[in-house]
């Protein structure tokens, strides 16, 4: 007795509406209550929004990363053989090429480079102590940790991250023709940079994952495509996501100084503070899959070939799980379920450890140098329908 998914005339998800993009949570609340598995009239795909369904079905074996025949190609379709295009067991083998380079322990070491850059920026502040914190304290310091992990030079990432934004917009639900074009342009630049770093590493290998991958490719244990696409994913795509979390921490410390004090005085609380930051700053607000075998969620039958988008950002604010879900709280009851910001299942983010290591090292370095932080202007956010991002965080570092 399968119910039909409801598709009311007025869509529950106005993807392009600026007020929806700025704050989608009122829409998500209604969605979870009225249509937790929603057949989206705009995209023809299914939207899953409750915590319990995202955590359970987001990792269901009936789902695949492989688009069925006839799915329109987009700017991201050039990825052919990487972790974002394949399923286990091949996926597991490919993920294992990166595992040991991105452990919590290894990434804490790389993140010393992030701390050093923060100290340099703070040394260099003017008399007012004003900086744009997203780029200068979060993004670029974070990138230096990634450069150390990979063993690549530091050049080219300011433009790279700006272009990456254009690529990410093309992963949204409602992408305009112009946005698609911009993503193609951005990929041309980024792919060229990745080729540059690969050529440099072949000429002059540095310790790190890239040199090891180049050797494995020469030995026939990886293909050229896996090498190139894998490098692209780590070098280009996700350091801004980590920087949004770090920037969220800086904004929190400026607005609610009691948490800055707590960060400084109770180091054992840092993991809990970070987890709550990551819950609220869902850099990637959704992930998506195709259905390889018929599936039923909350009584809604979802046919083979369908597309499902799992709304992580909605799950993270589901009142069934998180009381007072929009508030930053570190006194949630014992046994509270963990946030889903890094996804679930086999494709769970392999950058978790380096993202947390960057945030920890950067916030520690700022805490070492600043007595207080103040906003030096309004933050500028640049959310679209899939990414929750900062564009600017004007910050005064008080020493």
């Amino acid at each position: 007795m399968n119910m039909q998914a409801t598709a009311p005339k007025d869509t529950l998800l106005p993807w392009r509406d600026p007020s929806f993009r700025a704050d989608p949570y009122p829409w998500y609340d209604r969605l979870r209550a009225e249509a937790p598995v929603y057949l989206d009239p705009l995209t023809g795909g299914y939207i899953v929004s409750r915590y319990r369904d995202v955590v359970q079905y987001g990792k269901h074996p009936a789902l695949t990363m492989k688009a069925p025949e006839g799915t329109p190609k987009g700017p991201w379709s050039w990825f052919k053989d990487s972790v974002i295009t394949i399923d286990p067991p091949a996926h597991t083998a490919l993920r294992r090429k990166a595992n040991k380079w991105f452990t919590p322990k290894a990434t804490a070491e790389y993140a010393k480079q992030s701390a050093a850059e923060v100290h340099r920026i703070i040394d260099d502040l003017g008399p007012e102590g004003v900086t744009e914190a997203y780029e200068n304290l979060a993004l670029i310091p974070g990138h230096y940790a990634m450069c150390t992990a990979l063993g690549v030079g530091r050049e080219g990432y300011r433009t790279g991250a700006a272009y990456m934004r254009d690529c990410m917009i093309a992963l949204g639900s409602d992408v305009s023709a112009e946005e698609q074009e911009r993503a193609y342009t951005a990929f041309r630049f980024l792919r060229d940079r990745v080729s540059h770093h690969l050529a440099e590493a072949r000429r002059n290998p540095q310790p790190g994952m890239l040199a090891s991958w180049i050797e494995q490719t020469a030995a026939g244990d990886m293909t050229e495509t896996q090498l190139y696409e894998g490098l692209f994913l780590f070098w280009a795509t996700a350091t801004p996501n980590a920087a949004y979390v770090t920037t969220g921490g800086l904004e929190l410390f400026a607005r609610q100084p009691e948490y800055f004090e707590l960060w400084k005085s109770r180091p054992e609380m840092r993991a809990v503070i970070l987890a709550e930051l990551v819950r609220l700053h869902t850099a990637e607000m959704s992930f998506d899959r195709f259905v390889a075998e018929d599936l039923e969620i909350e009584g809604v039958a979802i046919p083979k070939g369908a597309h499902i988008r799992f709304l992580v950002a909605s799950a993270n604010r589901d009142t069934e799980v998180f009381e007072d879900p929009h508030a930053f709280r570190i006194d949630r009851p014992e046994g509270t379920p963990a946030h889903l910001s890094f996804g679930v299942g086999a494709h769970i983010c392999p950058g978790q450890a380096i993202a947390l290591a960057q945030a920890t090292a950067i916030l520690d370095a700022v805490a070492e140098r600043a007595t207080a932080l103040e906003l030096a202007g309004d933050p500028v956010y640049g959310h679209d329908d899939r990414s929750a991002r900062y564009l600017r965080l004007p910050l005064r570092v008080i020493r």
Binding site: K100, A275, R332, G335
Partner: protein, 158 residues
């Protein structure tokens, strides 16, 4: 025989993405703070001889796939299962990492603990467990488990 060896606790960890290594470090800190020697051994560097002649060990592993052992624990398990060393001199404590949103929550540590017991070893204390589906940080869970279980049992071994 070699008492120096017997009083050295070995902490073996098996992992996919490195969380078990953090647990190993935290558990070693608890033992050292209580005045014990502890040596951390990644499972990819361990074999049967690592445990033969060891009086007390802490075994740590996560669970991967559908209730399977993670990348570095599987070969260690398979080696022990085929070599079948006599571990009747070994006492061990076990700590598992998992995620309770999987039906096979914490299978990995149960598989390894069962094998060690099958090879003659004696488990002491309750198996500790960290659940990645809950907000409690790994460092807190493994430290409080180690403080409750280890000093007493490790001391008893000496």
């Amino acid at each position: 025989m070699n008492n120096g060896n017997l009083s050295m606790t070995k902490i073996l960890f098996g992992t996919e993405s490195g969380n078990s290594e953090m647990a190993a470090d935290d558990i070693a800190d608890v033992l050292r703070a209580a005045g014990h020697d502890a040596e951390i051994v990644p499972m990819e560097e361990a074999d049967g001889s690592t445990l033969v002649g060891t009086g007390f060990a802490v075994i740590i592993t996560s669970t991967y796939g559908e209730g399977e052992l993670p990348e570095t624990a599987q070969p260690f398990h398979d080696m022990l299962a085929s070599e079948r060393p006599d571990l009747s001199g070994l006492r061990f404590a076990a700590f598992g990492l998992g995620d309770s949103t999987y039906e096979t929550y914490g299978n990995g540590i149960d598989i390894l603990a069962a094998l060690l017991k099958d090879l003659g070893a004696t488990q002491v204390g309750e198996t500790g467990r960290h659940d990645a589906a809950r907000t409690e940080p790994l460092a807190d869970t493994c430290t409080s488990w180690a403080e409750a279980v280890l000093p007493a049992t490790a001391i008893a071994a000496e």
